[in-house]
């Protein structure tokens, strides 16, 4: 009896032991690295294998335990306080969108906003467990559409009436970058965006903001350049790039300005998106929507900040007074 009891206890312990990536890897006869890559949405794992791994992880309770561990942490923080369960939806295979730093932001924000759960959703499977959803860079899909939602960013479709958006000021940011470059003495400023087929709505805002900045200073705006060579060919002295890590740009000798996240450390003049304020605004809006069903706040723009990278600071002329520094 005793022996059986011990055996039972061992089985129970075994069941209670948290599932690890190693367990999933052993079950599917693949490496732990493959499992890790598949679960974090990184490249290098075939679609079929990724699906198998996700299915197995869900079946073995690995994904659930990941989710629960996050919920428990947040639950402890928000105990007896604001009992709203809010999810963050980023879409399938896009974990890279929210890296460790942004998770830190998010957790801190959730703590400040006293929300009970912070969870990344890749699809609508767990939609029923939540009261509201913050969608990062895309619109809610499937059953998530039934939940009150706020979209951070421009999404992949035109702005829909009746939906709430919190948008990093791509348009205003580009205009601000032109303004700063103009004061540094640049007159020939080009815009470098993504090649055709990979252009995003946010980039369009950035390009129009660049045109606005140029027009305000009475300067001709260039077209939407798609490669570094054409920027150099047109004799520009400075370039605004839609991405901070635009390839080969640093070797051109041009003054660079770009868009970056606020945890990046760009080496050039940059307009940095303030993710903590974006999430704060999104959570605030979502809470208002949960309290007043049917409320629509529309489009809210959050302005980031201009930072002078090392390269930019070296090139900027001396300015006495209260100019903004990095």
């Amino acid at each position: 009896m005793i022996g059986k009891g011990i055996a039972k206890d061992d089985q129970a312990k075994e069941r209670l032991k948290p599932v690890t990536m190693n367990d999933i890897a052993k079950r599917l006869d693949v490496s732990t690295v493959t499992v890790s890559n598949a679960l974090s949405g990184r490249d290098g794992v075939g679609q079929d294998m990724k699906r198998k791994i996700l299915q197995e992880a869900r079946r073995m309770g690995y994904l659930r335990s990941m989710e629960e561990s996050r919920c428990v942490t947040s639950k402890e923080i928000g105990k007896n306080l604001y009992q709203k369960r809010v999810a963050v939806y980023i879409g399938r295979g896009k974990h890279c969108l929210l890296d460790r730093e942004s998770w830190r932001f998010l957790d801190r924000q959730m703590e400040q906003e006293q929300s009970i759960a912070s969870l990344i959703l890749e699809d609508d499977t767990d939609a029923g467990r939540f009261e509201g959803v913050i969608c990062v860079g895309l619109l809610p899909e499937g059953r998530l559409r039934e939940l009150p939602s706020v979209v951070i960013g421009r999404g992949t479709a035109p702005i829909k009436p009746g939906m709430d958006y919190v948008i990093p000021g791509f348009y205003a940011g580009a205009s601000m970058l032109v303004d700063v470059l103009h004061r540094q003495g640049h007159r020939k400023i080009a815009f470098l965006g993504s090649p055709a087929g990979r252009q995003t709505l946010a980039e369009r805002d950035e390009y129009l903001g660049y045109c606005r900045g140029m027009m305000l200073h009475g300067l001709p705006a260039s077209g939407w350049e798609q490669d570094v060579e054409s920027v150099v060919r047109q004799g520009a002295t400075a370039v605004i790039a839609s991405k901070w890590k635009q390839k080969h740009l640093e070797t051109t000798g041009l003054s660079r300005a770009a868009f970056a996240n606020d945890w990046d450390e760009p080496d050039c003049l940059a307009y940095c998106f303030k993710w903590n304020i974006l999430f704060h605004k999104a959570l605030q809006t979502l809470h208002r929507k949960l309290e007043q069903p049917g409320l629509c706040c529309g489009v809210q723009t959050v302005i980031g900040e201009i930072r002078q990278g090392k390269e930019s600071a070296e090139q900027a002329p001396d300015q006495a007074g209260k100019e903004r520094t990095a």
Partner: protein, 276 residues
């Protein structure tokens, strides 16, 4: 312990002479809202009207040397050298209203002109219009540019053509620039987005002269600050002047009370008001 912080604050309000003529203009109404809001927050306001000549000659406003003034609210779009001079010289907290400066760490409150016009134009697109023109005033002020680019963004995003001949000037342009008036021949757009109410009124008069009616022949949307729709106008994106004034006074009083910290540029969104 004696409270050294004053209960009632005095703030200076700087406006351009040209913007004081019409009480019902955007700036006239914005100023009134600021005074009301300041009174509600126990702030005394002292108005200083800046003549055009002083602005062009970069003469510093008197309120900057008045020791009784604890903060300054600068309303409107100014000549850049004048504004930069103020930003460099001011030793009291300062907030810009409907103006911003990326280079100086100055708090600014701005209306949402870009996404406002974007939403108004999207409303036309959602109603099935594919040929949409734009009417603008002669000014190249930032707000006019923002609305123009908002219109352009909505069209480009929907894959619709931005046709130069459908961008009309509602006012005479400075000498040397050719005014683009209503097209005499060729296809007409089915709808127009007007930069402001004045431009929409000009369009309505022109259309009436040509025997075209709103909205049967041509639909019209605009951005406005009073929310009044023209007869037949489909929608208007209404800028929220009250919220702008409230936010500006709050930011300034916070800076006066708790130290001159930079809190950034903020956009105040309005509301798309549709007919019926």
């Amino acid at each position: 312990m004696k409270n050294t912080k004053p209960d009632c604050m005095s703030i200076g309000v700087l406006v351009q002479e040209a913007n004081t003529a019409d009480r019902c203009s955007f700036y006239g109404m914005l100023f009134q809202k600021v005074v009301l809001e300041a009174a509600g927050q126990e702030c005394l306001t002292m108005l200083e009207i800046v003549p055009k000549a002083s602005e062009q000659e970069c003469v510093l406003p008197r309120c900057l040397s008045n020791e009784g003034i604890q903060g300054l609210l600068v309303i409107g779009t100014w000549e850049q050298p004048y504004l930069q001079n103020i930003l460099q010289q001011a030793e009291i907290p300062l907030v810009l209203l409907d103006e911003s400066d990326a280079f100086y760490a100055c708090d600014a409150i701005l209306p949402e002109n870009y996404f406002g016009m974007y939403q108004a134009t999207r409303h036309l697109i959602d109603m099935g219009h594919q040929n949409i023109g734009f009417v603008r005033p002669a000014s190249t002020a930032p707000c006019v540019l923002d609305r123009y680019f908002g219109w352009r963004c909505a069209l480009e995003e929907a894959g619709l053509a931005v046709r130069e001949e459908w961008i009309l000037d509602s006012e005479e342009l400075p000498a040397g620039k050719r005014r683009r008036s209503f097209p005499k021949g060729g296809p007409l757009p089915t709808a127009f987005a007007a930069s402001d109410r004045k431009a929409a009124l000009w369009l309505a008069r022109i259309l009436e002269k040509r025997g075209l009616s709103i909205p049967e022949d041509i639909a019209v949307v605009s951005v406005s600050y009073d929310g009044n729709l023209l007869p037949g106008q489909l929608a208007s994106y209404r800028l929220d002047l009250e919220a702008m004034a409230r936010r500006a006074v709050r930011v300034l009083s916070k800076k006066i009370r708790f130290g001159d910290n930079y809190s950034g540029i903020r956009f105040v969104d309005g509301r798309l008001e549709k007919r019926g």
